[in-house]
């Protein structure tokens, strides 16, 4: 028996149930639209509304056949500038560079918060406030302003991704840096360790588990940032550009395919972070299959 087995059968059943329900719902949603199309005399290669439900140009819900054709159209040739693989790679690059920048900024703020109460009192409220505001609103403007100063292409998108991702990292890192056992901290003091040594040998390793939890949240956030930045500006590459283009062209099936592709990209990137986590924190054993299925931690919360 593999480790996944207790979840596997129910997950398959649920997936099958959703698939089985999809057909009737698809017909239910599309038949009125198909009827309207027939009534207006649109050129359709079908006679009845039932037949046409799977062949509409802009269906409410696309049929599996349409999705598959759309997937083949958007996937191949693999190196075409209008196909998903290249654009997804660009968006992934922006996300990862953004995450790296966010990690640097987050580390800086986290050390500030842990080291100085003055820093915490004067800046933390604004770091929190920057999250209760729809930061996405800033994206269109930031791209235009950066463009004026010659920063173009994927760099502004990475910066926006970083701007959106730095908060979870800051909070997770600050929590992690504060997490070592007080006894261990006292021990470092009795050894007369410098603050530098305390950070390097005790606080950083102790913060890793928190950091990776935060990183997973930040990865999704950064991906959202990158996609929105691509949507809201003139871009030539990326998932967001494909979304915007297909939205303008009213290619509904294409949008569904791109949506599924970006979902896959999100899952892939988070899995990548998870793999890195297992590599870097091998002392944290995965829980056994007898326990509850793994649930992500609650979002990092701030006490202000």
């Amino acid at each position: 028996m593999s480790r996944l087995s207790p979840n596997l059968v129910p997950m398959l059943v649920v997936a099958l149930a959703v698939l089985a329900l999809y057909w009737p719902i698809m017909y239910l949603a599309n038949i009125p639209a198909a009827q309207r199309a027939l009534d207006t005399g649109a050129a359709l290669p079908c006679k009845t509304a039932f037949e046409c439900a799977t062949q509409l140009r802009s269906p409410v819900l696309p049929s599996p056949q349409q999705l598959w054709n759309g997937f083949l159209n958007l996937m191949f040739p693999l190196n075409s500038p209008n196909a998903i693989p290249l654009n997804a790679a660009v968006t992934a690059l922006e996300t990862l560079v953004g995450l790296f920048l966010a990690a640097l900024v987050g580390l800086f703020f986290a050390i500030g918060i842990v080291a100085s109460p003055a820093f915490e009192r004067s800046l933390l409220p604004w770091i929190v406030a920057s999250q209760t505001v729809p930061i996405i609103a800033i994206a269109p403007m930031l791209v235009v302003v950066l463009g004026q100063y010659g920063v173009q292409g994927w760099v502004p998108k990475a910066i926006i991704a970083a701007y959106i991702a730095f908060f979870p990292i800051t909070i997770g890192m600050a929590k992690g840096l504060k997490s070592p056992d007080p006894l261990a901290l006292d021990l470092m003091k009795t050894y007369h360790a410098s603050p530098w040594q305390t950070y390097l040998k005790l606080r950083f390793p102790a913060s890793l588990p928190y950091l990776f939890t935060a990183f997973k949240v930040a990865t999704t956030a950064a991906l959202i940032g990158a996609i929105v930045a691509e949507i809201s500006t003139i871009s030539f590459q990326g998932i967001g550009k494909m979304l915007a283009e297909n939205s303008r062209a009213s290619d509904v099936v294409g949008m569904w395919v791109i949506m599924l592709a970006s979902a896959a990209l999100g899952i892939l990137l988070v899995a990548l972070v998870g793999g890195l986590e297992r590599l870097l924190t091998p002392w944290r054993q995965p829980r056994s299959s007898l326990e509850r299925p793994r649930v992500p931690r609650a979002q990092p919360e701030v006490g202000v």
Binding site: A118, R121, V133, P134, I224
Partner: protein, 316 residues
């Protein structure tokens, strides 16, 4: 206690330097000479130094208003320095407007922005948020009750949390039209998954001792939920509800990027950013932030009312 007088002094001198420069350069149209620009830098440094000396004095206060003083001073210093720098370098207002200009614009276009805010916040974000939260709570109750659903559904919920929901926005807008219901749907879906996952954790992570006690009293399942599981879940639920306020605002604004009926904060931002009307963009951002913070504050207030007994609120 270090003498705070020096800190206040530094802060005051820095403020006066900055204000003096802004007044001097208010109606000039040339880039300020190097000496004056150095003065701005000096003023900024003095304010930072003053803040660093003043802020520790507020570090352990319990009065929320006093505790906010350092943050307010930081904002003031930041705004003044930005204003001074923008004026000193004569950055065109079409690129980065000065804070005063943004405030003036905010006052001028307040009627339009209030209508936008009503559309975005109340009709789209709030309606979507309520629907998403209600559905999420129901789902979590069901999932926590039936182990089969837990095993079959919950892994998908965690999977969905790593999906960029914005990609859904254009599809929903195409499906449901450009009016507000499509954006409400985006908000509902965005809010739904965090609520399910968090509520489920709260409902199931109860102490085994308490469960055993309930069982030994022969408590019915309804009673178990009413007196043990739901109260235990409240802090978790509120974490998700707080997170949801931000997500709903983002969902509504991004949804409007894909088509709106001529109203809404996201629509306004998109249109004005394209026209380089950044003073209006900033005004819209201020309105959106104010709405976001007020909403967040409302949820926090509710949380305090309903979970005042929880550890994280004890001892002030």
């Amino acid at each position: 206690m270090r003498p705070a007088g020096l800190g206040w002094g530094l802060l005051g001198v820095g403020l006066v330097l900055q204000l003096g420069f802004i007044a001097r350069w208010w109606s000039e149209s040339e880039v300020a000479p190097g000496g004056l620009r150095l003065l701005i830098g000096l003023g900024a440094l003095l304010m930072i130094g003053g803040l660093a000396r003043v802020a520790p004095g507020f570090a352990h206060t319990r009065n929320p208003v006093l505790g906010f003083v350092p943050a307010a001073l930081t904002l003031l210093a930041f705004l003044l320095t930005t204003e001074a720098l923008l004026r000193a370098y004569q950055v065109p207002p079409g690129l980065i407007p000065t804070p005063t200009q943004v405030l003036i614009t905010l006052h001028e276009v307040r009627d339009v922005l209030l209508q936008d805010a009503y559309q975005t916040v109340v009709k789209e974000a709030l309606v979507g948020y309520l629907i998403g939260c209600a559905l999420g709570l129901l789902t979590a109750l069901l999932v926590s009750r039936y182990i089969f659903l837990e095993r079959g559904f919950l892994p998908y919920a965690t999977l969905f949390s790593s999906i960029p929901i914005v990609a859904l926005a254009p599809v929903l807008v195409k499906m449901m039209g450009i009016d507000w219901p499509s954006k409400a749907a985006i908000c509902a879906i965005t809010v739904y998954f965090p609520v399910v996952v968090n509520t489920f954790r709260g409902l199931t992570e109860v102490s085994p001792m308490a469960l055993d006690l309930m069982r030994s009293y022969a408590a019915a399942e309804v009673q178990q939920y009413r007196w043990l599981r739901l109260p235990n879940a409240l802090p978790f639920i509120f974490t998700a509800l707080k997170l949801g306020t931000t997500l709903a605002m983002i969902g509504a604004i991004v949804g409007e990027f894909f088509g709106a009926n001529g109203q809404g904060l996201g629509f306004r931002i998109q249109i004005e950013a394209g026209r380089f009307g950044f003073d209006i963009v900033w005004s819209a951002i201020i309105v959106a932030s104010a709405a976001g913070i007020a909403w967040y504050g409302l949820v926090v207030w509710l949380e305090r009312r309903l979970t005042g007994w929880h550890v994280s609120f004890r001892g002030g």
